[in-house]
Amino acid sequence: MMSNGLALLSIFTLSIFVGFEVVSKVSSTLHTPLMSGANAIHGVILVGAIIVADRSSNNLELTLALIAIVLATINMVGGFVVTDRMLEMFKAKKK
């Protein structure tokens, strides 16, 4: 049994490698959609925002948490939608 901290560190380290390797050969055509898609993925901070909203113990915390929720939702949903719009056009050329 390893400690929780070490487990998280291992997960962190492995994730770095996965992130590096997965995109390392992307063609320049896809730079923008990839950036935009990755950008949408970190919108998953929404999960964290919801958690802290639930835990919030006073109005200041709640307000900040709700702002975080709004921002995170914009990041996440907007990011995926705009990426899809870009890629839709790429796809059109297949026809």
């Binding site: 998280l8 997960i11 994730s15 490698f17 996965v18 992130g19 590096f20 997965v22 995109v23 992307v26 320049s28 896809l30 730079h31 923008t32 959609p33 990839l34 935009s36 898609g37 990755a38 950008n39 993925i41 970190h42 919108g43 998953v44 901070i45 929404l46 999960v47 964290g48 925002a49 919801i50 958690i51 802290v52 909203a53 639930d54 835990r55 919030s56 113990s57 900040l64 948490a65 709700l66 702002i67 975080a68 929720i69 921002l71 995170a72 939702t73 914009i74 990041n75 996440m76 949903v77 990011g79 995926f80 705009v82 990426t83 719009r85 890629l87 790429f90 796809k91 059109a92 050329k93």
Partner: protein, 468 residues
């Protein structure tokens, strides 16, 4: 839902994100990749609404969530802002929007860490406080930095590097301040230090991006994107949520690589991009050229030129996007092809305002994929090309990138249109492009200029060609 099941589904969502990035790296699977990512994010979000922490884990919530209506309301607001923005934005303004989305993400991550810090108060462990400091600093930098990139791209401010006397020292002082405030938070805790830290970090984001030249802005956006990823990972540590750690780290790592790849595509070193403005001498611009005469032609002249060519290469740039001329270009290309003329498009990696911009626009106009050729592919063929038709592009064909050391685009590989027998520029004026440097090629004897909005002039060329 038990904690194990919760973590298992979270892991599945993390796998979705990996598959999303994998998919996004290949043209064929890119769209599916994005959808997989969206699916993962949706699952991850829904998960929180269904998970009850058990009694042994006081940090976790009982169902239903407290403040559920407010939370749902906030999500709704986010949807109402984000979705229309994403759907309605013009293709030319896409980079700004991505910058903004990235900035708000960084802001959200910083806020999450702040709220948790406020709540925990003095009960926060040192590791959590350090992670909080990191999140607040990087998240704030990402937020304010992204706002400045937005302002630059939206041309709310100059796209030139902003350097002012003493800027270097101001930045140094700012960095020192951030470190000091960070140490203050870690040592004494409390809310004031955190506020100071956030303020200084926001300032640093501004100072960090101001000196970056407009042409390098996408690189900075990509870098800030990676920053935001790391911020999310750190908040994941604060909240002990593995999914956030994995997702954030993935974005952080892939964003870093992507930033490097982008910088390479523009032929610039990452370090110079970020800190070049401090070390560079005042920028060289080729000003002497302005009094010289240029050769301009009518749409009919160009039509004749094209009609007798055997091979024509289109070089689209930002102006094509502004004029929304992609469909007209396509029409012209079809017309030429029908006449048995060989047609290709030379796509520079940084043509337009974001990497891959031209591919998107031309794909929108159903230009066949085989006709789109990247720089390395097309450059050797210009020698066999009769007409290079430069449509609303400037920097990407500017020989100053090779000849004028010290100019903002020096070192960037360019499309060698000068090798073609004839060069035609479609632009509205003699004004320079994004990087703000004169283009010698405009004065070259083999160059013809066709002034006017690209869409209008192209339409005229098309009808002239039909009448020949």
């Amino acid at each position: 839902m038990s904690r194990n099941l919760y973590d298992l589904i979270g892991l599945a969502a993390a796998v979705c994100f990996i598959l999303a990035l994998k998919g996004l790296s290949h043209p064929k699977s890119a769209r599916r990749g994005n959808l997989i990512g969206a699916f993962g994010a949706t699952v991850a979000t829904l998960l929180v609404f269904f998970f009850t922490g058990n009694s042994g884990e006081p940090d976790w919530h009982a169902l239903p969530l407290r403040h559920l209506p407010l939370i749902l309301g906030a999500i709704l607001i986010g949807l109402l802002v984000g979705v229309p923005a994403a759907r309605k934005v013009q293709m030319t303004q896409m980079p700004q929007l991505v910058a903004l989305f990235n900035g708000v993400g960084g802001g959200a991550a910083a806020l999450v860490a702040i709220v948790e810090y406020l709540r925990l108060g003095s009960s926060a462990s040192p590791a959590v406080v350090i992670a909080t400091v990191f999140t607040v600093v990087v998240g704030s930098v990402s937020f304010s930095g992204s706002c400045i990139t937005f302002a630059k791209l939206q041309e709310l401010m100059t796209t030139r590097p902003v350097v002012f006397p003493g800027g270097r020292f101001l930045i140094a002082a700012n960095v020192a301040g951030v470190f000091a405030a960070g140490a203050w938070v870690i040592n004494s805790g409390g809310n004031t230090p955190l506020l100071v830290l956030a303020g200084l970090s926001l300032l640093f984001g501004v100072l960090f991006v101001l000196p970056v030249g407009g042409a390098d802005v996408p690189i900075v956006i990509s870098l800030l994107n990676a920053f935001t990823g790391l911020t999310v990972a750190a908040s994941g540590y604060v909240l002990q949520t593995t999914l956030l750690i994995v997702a954030g780290t993935l974005v952080g790592a892939s964003g870093t690589i992507l930033t490097r790849l982008m910088a390479e595509a523009m032929g610039r070193s990452l370090f110079k991009t970020l800190f070049g403005a401090f070390t560079a001498k005042p920028q060289a611009t080729s000003t002497e050229a302005e009094t010289r005469s240029v050769k301009s032609g009518s749409p009919e002249d160009i039509a004749i030129l094209l009609n007798y060519a055997r091979r024509v290469v289109f070089v689209p740039g930002f102006g094509l996007a502004v004029a929304q001329a992609q469909h007209t270009v396509r029409e012209l290309a079809d017309l030429l092809t029908a006449k048995g003329i060989d047609v290709a498009y030379g796509i520079h990696a940084v043509a337009g305002r974001m990497p891959g911009h031209m591919n998107v626009l031309l794909a929108e106009a159903n230009v066949p994929y085989e006709q789109l050729q990247e720089m390395d592919e097309i450059n050797p063929t210009f020698a066999q090309t009769d007409v290079a038709l430069v449509i609303g592009a400037n920097d990407v064909v500017n020989p100053a990138a090779k000849n004028l050391p010290g100019c903002p685009i020096y070192g960037m590989p360019i499309l060698e249109v000068a090798d073609a027998a004839n060069v035609v520029f479609l632009k509205r004026s003699m004004r320079p492009g994004f990087a703000g440097i004169e283009n010698e090629l405009l004065y070259d004897p083999k160059t013809t200029l066709l002034f006017g909005d690209a869409k209008e002039t192209l339409t005229k060329v098309v009808s002239a060609l039909k009448n020949l």
